[in-house]
């Protein structure tokens, strides 16, 4: 079980700070999670949280466009950012003597982004993001799967209904005023957590954090979190068939599920791993290896916290195997596991795979910092980084059976099927 040290601080402006020391290599990670994601977007502005994230690299009062990247890279660091349904994160990994550079860059854009914003930069990044959407969604086989599942599992009005990447028309509508308003609303120290992990001097690091972030004022009018409440079950069986430019059919099975961080989420994660992680998993053994009806199988429970989450499982058909046949085989395996529960050997197998995977991920201090920020931002409980493995191991057969019976039901299920299109797919708007 991991034993990651965690030290907690809080600046007067509300910024929550977490330090995790490890000097085995001369490198340090800076990681910020802002409690804002695509679920905070307004109607007509889908995709904005992510577009805004791009604007955070377009310079701030003391940093020129693109300089954030070049300064970090020239220092021998790596960096990036990402936006998802619940949150936006920004991160740098640096040689440890350049820690202050990372803190300064992050603080400068939090303190003074807007003076650097121009219409030209916005127009440029709007085009970049539209190309990101074309590349990852519109021009990609099966590329619309997650946005279709979200749209079906969450009704209109619920802000998980739309995808983080947004729609082309909403991206076109985004304005500089939107940038200013979004920044003023959500980019405040009391809406963020900052984690520093790796090789640093504790007192020096705290002084730097205070120096750079301390003067940034809080937003005393943070909006209340959006109302994400939603019934636990869909209440009906849903189906969608999508003709796409794909050679092989693929079935996605998706259920509305309890949110990340709850016991039933862990129970269903275990169920998913028993079904589809590793060559000894049920779906791989039976559908891929023995009956040869599937080319591959995958599972992904979304680690999201807004009212409900999504349990998704998918398989690609072998050539000559119909979508119907594959769907029947998939659902039969889910039903069988739900009825009998996992065996002790199965729980041991995935428990050990999970423990090894966690240790392996935590080798990277950037990953350590990101998980600390995640658990702090979502649950105010960074200590979960050390209890994750035990929580997972504590799941027993009875819990799996019960969670599957409550959640993986026909009246809570979407079956999304991609089939090879006769003619080329229509061009996206």
């Amino acid at each position: 079980m991991p034993d990651i040290p965690i030290e907690r601080h809080r600046l007067d402006n509300g910024l929550r700070v977490f330090l995790s020391h490890d000097d085995s290599a001369p490198i340090v990670a800076v990681n910020l999670w802002y409690d804002v994601g695509s679920k905070h977007e307004k109607p007509g502005r889908t995709g904005f949280a992510h577009l805004f994230e791009h604007m955070m690299f377009q310079g701030s009062e003391h940093v020129a466009k693109g300089e954030h990247f070049t300064l970090v890279q020239q220092a021998g660091g790596t960096l990036n950012a990402s936006t998802w349904l619940d949150r936006t994160n920004y991160f740098e990994t640096l040689p440890s003597h350049e820690l202050e550079l990372g803190l300064w860059l992050e603080s400068d854009r939090l303190a003074s982004l807007l003076p650097a914003m121009t219409q030209e930069k916005l127009d440029n990044q709007r085009e970049v993001v539209k190309n990101e959407r074309r590349w990852s969604v519109d021009n990609q086989p099966y590329g619309t799967w997650d946005e279709r599942i979200q749209a079906q599992l969450f009704p209109e009005g619920h802000t998980y209904h739309h995808p983080t990447i947004g729609s082309m028309e909403d991206l076109d509508a985004a304005s500089l005023e939107d940038v200013g308003e979004f920044f003023a609303t959500y980019y405040a120290p009391n809406n963020a957590v900052l984690t520093v992990a790796g090789d640093f001097d504790r007192d020096a690091a705290l002084a730097m954090i205070e120096r750079h972030f301390g003067p940034i004022p809080a937003n005393d009018d943070l909006p209340p979190p959006p109302d994400m409440s939603i019934p636990p079950l869909i209440g009906q069986a849903l189906r969608e068939e999508v003709p796409d430019r794909v050679p092989l059919p693929r079935i996605y099975v998706a259920y509305r599920m309890p949110i990340f961080g709850t016991d039933p989420f862990d129970d269903l994660s275990v169920a998913g791993d028993v079904l589809a992680v590793g060559r000894a998993s049920r779906l791989y053994s039976r559908l891929v290896r023995e009956r040869k009806v599937a080319q591959d199988v995958s599972v992904f429970p979304f680690p999201i916290v807004g009212g409900a989450s999504m349990f998704t499982l998918w398989a690609t058909a072998k050539p000559g195997v119909g979508a119907d046949q594959l769907e029947k085989s998939l659902l039969a395996e889910i039903d069988q596991l739900a009825a009998e529960g996992p065996t002790a050997a199965e729980l041991e197998r995935i428990g050990n795979l999970h423990a090894a995977a966690v240790e392996s991920s935590l080798e990277r201090i950037a990953e350590r910092a990101d998980r600390l920020s995640m658990y702090a931002c979502l649950f105010d409980e960074p200590e979960r980084i050390n209890t994750e493995v035990d929580r997972y191991r504590a799941v027993d057969a009875e819990r799996v059976r019960q969670a599957m019976a409550e959640t993986l039901r026909p009246d809570n299920r979407l079956v999304l099927t991609y089939v090879p299109a006769e003619a080329p797919a229509e061009e996206a708007a």
Partner: protein, 452 residues
């Protein structure tokens, strides 16, 4: 707007030195070379077994046999069938991988330290007493054929495959994917795999690399116990001299309905042992290897044509390709392609400013300790030392080699290694929209093809 009280970039502290870990190496009497890279603070162990059984070691008529052999190894041993082998390894928290590239094949796993010895025992059983049965062979062959179909539906993967096909001449093995073509894979039989495995998977060309919280003595003992009496010497790989597929030309691969064009520009590059390796590495980074590279700044940050553009050399035992790549919206295909060609061509005109060179070189030097943060990264770093016979102090002197690259070295590398009159320009996109404008642009003789 409030501002921070610190308008200036902070001054960096004193760097803490980083040294690539020392390794130990012992050759066993049967030829197996055992490498240990102790990383005392690591939480996991990485074990890589490399064999000279990549695609360069196969007959051209049997293209893909090396890849299929590597993949088939994880489907069990004489003692354990595919399901039982998966159970035995995964119960230890281990997922064994086995795959091949052009220059080698690798069977590997990562585990918690307490399971490493059992893992090595299972890995040894897998390569010494493989099951290689008909049913698993048929399955993996069918999966490989289906994967080729899937890859060709993905515009980026399709562009990569088509680029190789056109950039090399018909006699160069590198013109196909190392895992084979539908035609060569279709023709493979279980006997081909059995015979390739028997002849090429032997200790004579093999390296066992172990990184993690381990001692060389312990690793050696495990290697002797499980692999010490492994017998056989492999014939090794073929040698060949890659040749270009033609002079400057443009190929459109029609993909109707595409909303982007996947662009590639390039030609023959360098071999891994080239004396130009370091200048080429830095040149590739300046052109398209970092966020602030010329291609990315121009195509993304100035023009907004793409989510990202990249470029670089892919050195192998024999000269591999140089390529630049970007996916751009259909409407700007011609402009983007012209920008790419001009930008690459202009690199031959003048040496980079010292500031641009420093930016890239400082990154490559400074990021060094980050690359070896994981035991997987450390084990991976030993592979080219083992496979290509790089100097033992290769990683210890790596940063000095980079620092020695000056502006004139970059200019000379650009003049010798970038050849605009040899450019293959390739676009995977909707020919009904891009064909005419590309023809009118007059970038070079043009050919339009469809996917097989």
């Amino acid at each position: 707007m409030p501002t921070t009280v610190n308008p200036l970039r902070p001054v960096a502290g004193a760097p803490r030195p980083y040294h690539f870990p020392d390794f130990h190496r012992t050759r066993l009497p049967n030829g197996l070379t055992v490498w240990t890279v102790p990383v005392p603070s690591a939480a996991v162990v990485n074990v890589h077994l490399l064999v000279d059984a990549g695609a360069a070691a196969e007959d051209e008529a049997r293209g893909g046999v090396a890849a299929l052999t590597a993949q088939l190894l994880v489907t069990g041993t004489r003692r354990l069938d595919a399901g039982a082998f998966a159970e035995a390894t995964e119960r230890l928290g281990i997922e064994v991988s086995s795959e091949s590239s052009w220059d080698s094949a690798r069977a590997a796993f990562q585990s918690l330290p307490e399971h490493a010895d059992d893992g090595i025992a299972l890995l040894a059983e897998m390569i010494r007493e493989p099951r290689l049965d008909e049913s698993e062979f048929d399955r993996l062959k069918a999966e490989r054929l289906a994967d080729i179909l899937q890859a060709r539906a993905d515009p980026g993967r399709l562009a990569d495959e088509m680029f190789l096909r056109h950039v090399f001449d018909a006699q160069t093995p590198y013109r196909r994917l190392s895992a084979g073509t539908p035609e060569t894979v279709e023709a493979l039989t279980l006997d081909h795999v059995r015979s390739f495995q028997a002849s090429h998977w032997g200790p004579g060309t093999a390296h066992l690399i172990v990184g993690g919280p381990v001692e060389h003595d312990t690793v050696l003992q495990a290697a002797e116990r499980h692999l010490g009496d492994w017998a056989g010497t492999g014939p090794g790989h073929r040698t060949f001299a890659p040749a270009a597929g033609g002079s400057r030309r443009l190929v459109i691969v029609d993909r109707p309905g595409s909303v982007q064009s996947e662009l590639r520009v390039g030609h023959l590059g360098i071999e891994r042992q080239s004396p130009r390796y370091f200048p080429a590495l830095v040149l590739g980074a300046i052109l398209g290897g970092v966020f602030g590279s010329r291609l990315n700044l121009r195509l993304r940050e100035e023009l907004g044509y793409t989510y990202g553009a990249r470029a670089g050399f892919d050195p192998r035992r024999a000269p591999g390709p140089f390529s630049a790549a970007a996916a751009v919206q259909t409407e700007v295909t011609v402009d983007a392609l012209r920008e790419m060609v001009e930008l690459l061509t202009r690199a031959r005109d003048a040496a980079p400013e010292q500031s641009e060179l420093s930016e890239v070189r400082d990154y490559l030097v400074g990021v060094f300790p980050l690359r070896f943060e994981t035991t997987g990264g450390v084990a991976m770093a030993m592979e080219p030392v083992a496979v290509y016979g790089l100097a033992d102090d290769y990683w210890h002197t790596y940063r000095q080699h980079l620092e020695a690259v000056g502006p004139e070295d970059i200019l000379s590398a650009a003049r010798d290694l970038l050849m605009p009159d040899q450019f293959l320009m390739l676009a995977v996109g909707d020919a009904s929209k891009i064909r005419e404008p590309l023809e009118a642009a007059g970038l070079g003789p043009m050919e339009v093809t469809a996917v097989d």
